[in-house]
Amino acid sequence: MSDIVIRATKLGRDFKTVTALEALDLEVPAGIVFGFLGPNGAGKTTTIRLLLGLLEPTRGRAEVLGRDVASHGPEVRALSGALLEQSGLYERLSAADNLEYYGRIWRLAASERRARIRELLSHFGLWDRRAEPAGLWSRGMKQKLAVARALLHRPRLVFLDEPTAGLDPVAAASLRDDLAALAAREGTTIFLTTHNLDEAERLCHRVAIIRAGRLLAEGPVEELKRGPAAPATDVRGRGFGPALVERVGALPGVAGIDAADGLLTVHWKEAADTSALLRALVDGGAEVDELVARKATFEDAFLRLVKDEPQENASCSTI
């Protein structure tokens, strides 16, 4: 069997005159947590709907778990789990009945269903309140119940559309831990969309960044951080006059300089050359108190990609 669970080739979808997804090329390996990031309206939900066979693509194609989504949507849905934008819980039904319904939908045998419901509700700390209507629960509890529902039938692939959206930080962290643990324990591939960059950095093995229906970058978070978000060096001290700034700016590899109130920030095109910088500072007569190599953050990388990439000429940088 292929190690790629999702393969999209020039996948696109238009809604009348609006292009929600332009031409997505994407491969998601099995057994990882894959983050799909982008601002509102980037095309994340449309992508999930296309991958689940809920929408027909306008162009291109996608294979999920080895099946073409356009022609084998029912099979794809049978092998996947999904927590979409809304938790999708029946609020008049109890938590246990919500899971019972989907357990029956996935055709789990009665004994297996009971055991699995108990296992998941216990794991999420919801077992004691299983008889309560889901509508009476807090948002965090509902979200956990919805995740439990998505994992109920032990799918090989789970789509989670912003699972921690609207949760308080404690509930979000708890749900993240649960997701990581469950993914590791059950070997499930998780396709996760989120706005939360910290969450993506903590949870995802690989991420893709999308904006206005275009893929901007894809790869492991660590490599993505080293990519478009180039390194910088902060220098604290005195004597950062125009002549010194000019001298530093002439160093090979320097992309730009910000100078203000005893702080000189040197942006590098690629790797920082700290020793050359220090020499230039000392030779230029500056008094250096502290020199710190600024660590590129994922947020820097994300913002630079999303804000700076010209929309008309955006191209995907696969790392």
């Binding site: 809920l54 029912p74 849905r77 979409l84 999708g88 819980l89 029946y90």
Partner: protein, 244 residues
């Protein structure tokens, strides 16, 4: 298919029984309905209740009344409460979802109607029986059985059809009422016919016996229900429901 159908019906009935604060649906609502339509009204009419063939007309309205209370919720309710997309993202086949929704409304409306029919017969026997068994004549019993099923099927199919595209339950209920009224336009148009035509029509109807009329009504209902089910099946498209 049968397993999936049963699963959807199981959930729908659970939700109907779990409804609170509404007369239609919910355990208390069902109990009140059963007492009013299955005990109070039959007792008010006395033994004639199980003797007259006209009782078929009364019972034919009951499943409509019951189905109309719950069926608008089938898809519009799921859409309004944001549960539809998750359901559509599951492995359930299109027809199982559609048939399950219609089936649940039929089970509720027809089942409760038959329960009322039986309760009425039991109440009449307890109060007026005096050692004799009072029950509907066989053709009337068969008529009630068939007519109530067809009305339940028609009302459920029509309700699900309008609910498929309605944004809210309220909108679905309004559309359902309008659609049902449209079906009765031929009856409403009767008084507007010229006097000679009306007289001829009346003479023709007067010449028919009760069995013929009942069979004609059954046939008409069956055709209408079949047409509605075919339209509902054609209009149920996952990708359209997602975008609606």
């Amino acid at each position: 298919m049968f397993h999936d159908l049963r699963t959807v019906i199981w959930k729908e009935i659970k939700e109907i029984l779990g409804q609170r604060g509404r007369f239609k649906g919910g355990r208390m609502g069902i109990l009140i309905f059963l007492v009013v339509f299955g005990v109070v009204l039959p007792l008010q009419n006395g033994p004639e209740w199980v003797r007259s063939p006209l009782v078929m007309i009364y019972w034919a309205w009951v499943p409509f009344l019951l189905a109309s209370g719950v069926v608008a919720d089938s898809f519009a309710g799921e859409r309004e409460r944001h549960t539809l997309e998750t359901l559509l993202a599951s492995r359930l086949p299109d027809r199982a979802i559609l048939a399950g929704k219609i089936g649940a409304a039929i089970v509720y409306a027809w089942g409760l109607t038959l329960a009322c029919v039986m309760a009425g017969a039991v109440a009449i026997n307890i109060v007026h029986g005096k050692g004799r068994l009072l029950f509907y004549a066989a053709p009337v019993a068969a008529g009630i059985f068939g007519l109530t099923f067809l009305v339940a099927l028609l009302a459920s199919g029509l309700g699900v059809l309008v609910s498929l595209r309605a944004a809210t339950v309220r909108q679905a209920q309004q559309a359902f009422s309008v659609a049902f009224l449209l079906m009765f336009i031929p009856l409403l148009a009767l008084p507007m016919l010229p006097g000679a035509v009306k007289a001829k029509l009346l003479a023709a109807v007067s010449g028919l016996n009760a069995v013929t009329v009942t069979l004609a009504v059954v046939l008409l209902l069956a055709i209408a229900a079949a047409v509605i089910l075919i339209i509902a099946d054609a209009r149920f498209r996952r990708n359209r429901l997602i975008l609606d």
